[in-house]
Symmetry: C2
Subunit: 229 residues, 2 copies
């Protein structure tokens, strides 16, 4: 079947994201250095806190910032000073304020794709922050639909395809996360294209069996669709 | 024109919400009592922090919790102990975990309304938390559509009416917030019904000119619609 609708992930597919979280965790480790011995792996502690809070907080910068503060209190044995907690709040705010930076190839490729296909951004995280990112991306007007969702699982994709009357056979999802952009879409009988990024959040790690089309860059997507779409 | 679609606000229209924030701010004041003199009005400080952070955080419990922590650091002159910051984190988590409690009359009235009208919940706040509330409300199956939005302004209502092909003349919005549920809907030429609640967040305060139909309880809505719809 011919591709009619193209789903595009936002974070780390259209714009830089995970590397900014990594920058923030680097600043977090530096801030905590005076409280915490070398025997404590702060990244491990942070991952454990985030995992424990995920069911309650969901995705996004605000929950991440709350988890940073919780990890700092725990890892410092309750010794972290209020001024340093404020620094963590400020790191979270800086992350929210960071201007949107499109990934290489996106600015040239998305307008080309928009001429051929109906484009739908499907992205998860804080509604408020994702809307600001979309507004800052300059891409919103090229999109047929924008779906900011709480979780990217088969039920969510099924709801979206149903709501807009999209035949799974005519839908291709494009993204960097195997767990969120690839596997749930394949489960519905639609297709997916994987464009890996260097940084992937540890809670998103998953693998596909190698049969999923994998591109080095979004720049290769129009050619791939011309042949396979 | 006959009413076909009924918009229902979530927080403080279908279920209790603002009073839980008020409970949390009471616990916050008690926790800060040992740090802060009587000359400091903690509610004023918290309102100022929330107002300053609104553009960055948007609505919802996670941003509220971050603002609680920031207010505590500032109001205590940087003296708040890490253990007490953890208490604030725990207050935020307790707020997120609080089970959904429907307001009086909702459980009886919404099924009656669903027989006559297409119902659409239009609610703002954290996507993750609002979805959990809807799931916990037992009302989701009665809804024709669910729209969790970042801001309830005329542009948002216009998008929703357009997306679902709803004639403003056939739409009535029902809610407790004049600012979010009434004024932007009137601006589009649709109608609105105000059901005030005892607790209203200070950032939501607004007035209408008295010409807006105002009901004491959702229990009165079917009769109002039968006459005016």
């Amino acid at each position: 079947m011919t591709v009619e609708v193209l789903g595009l992930d936002g974070d780390d597919t259209l714009w830089r994201n995970e590397e900014y979280f990594a920058d923030t965790q680097r600043a977090f480790r530096a801030l905590l250095a005076s409280y915490v011995g070398d025997d404590i792996d702060l990244d491990d502690r942070m991952n454990a806190t985030e995992r424990a809070n995920l069911e309650l907080f969901g995705y996004g910068v605000k929950g991440f910032t709350l988890s940073l503060i919780e990890t700092a209190i725990e890892a410092s044995g309750g010794r972290i000073a209020a001024a340093d907690v404020q620094q963590l709040l400020d790191l979270g705010k800086a992350l929210l304020r960071r201007p949107v930076a499109l990934l290489e190839g996106v600015a040239e490729t998305v307008p080309v794709l928009a001429e051929e296909y109906r484009l739908i951004v499907i992205t998860k995280g804080d509604l408020w922050n994702q809307e600001q990112k979309l507004a800052g991306s300059g891409l919103a007007e090229l999109m047929w639909r924008i779906e900011i969702v709480a979780e990217k699982d088969p039920a969510t994709y099924k709801r979206i395809l149903g709501q807009y009357d999209i035949d799974p056979a005519c839908f291709v999802m494009v993204g960097n996360s195997v767990r969120s952009d690839i596997l749930p879409v394949l489960e519905l009988g639609a297709r997916a294209v994987h464009i890996p990024q260097e940084h992937t959040w540890v809670q998103e790690l998953a693998e596909h069996d190698g049969s999923v089309p994998t591109l080095e860059s979004i720049l290769d997507l129009p050619a791939w669709l011309a042949v396979n779409g």
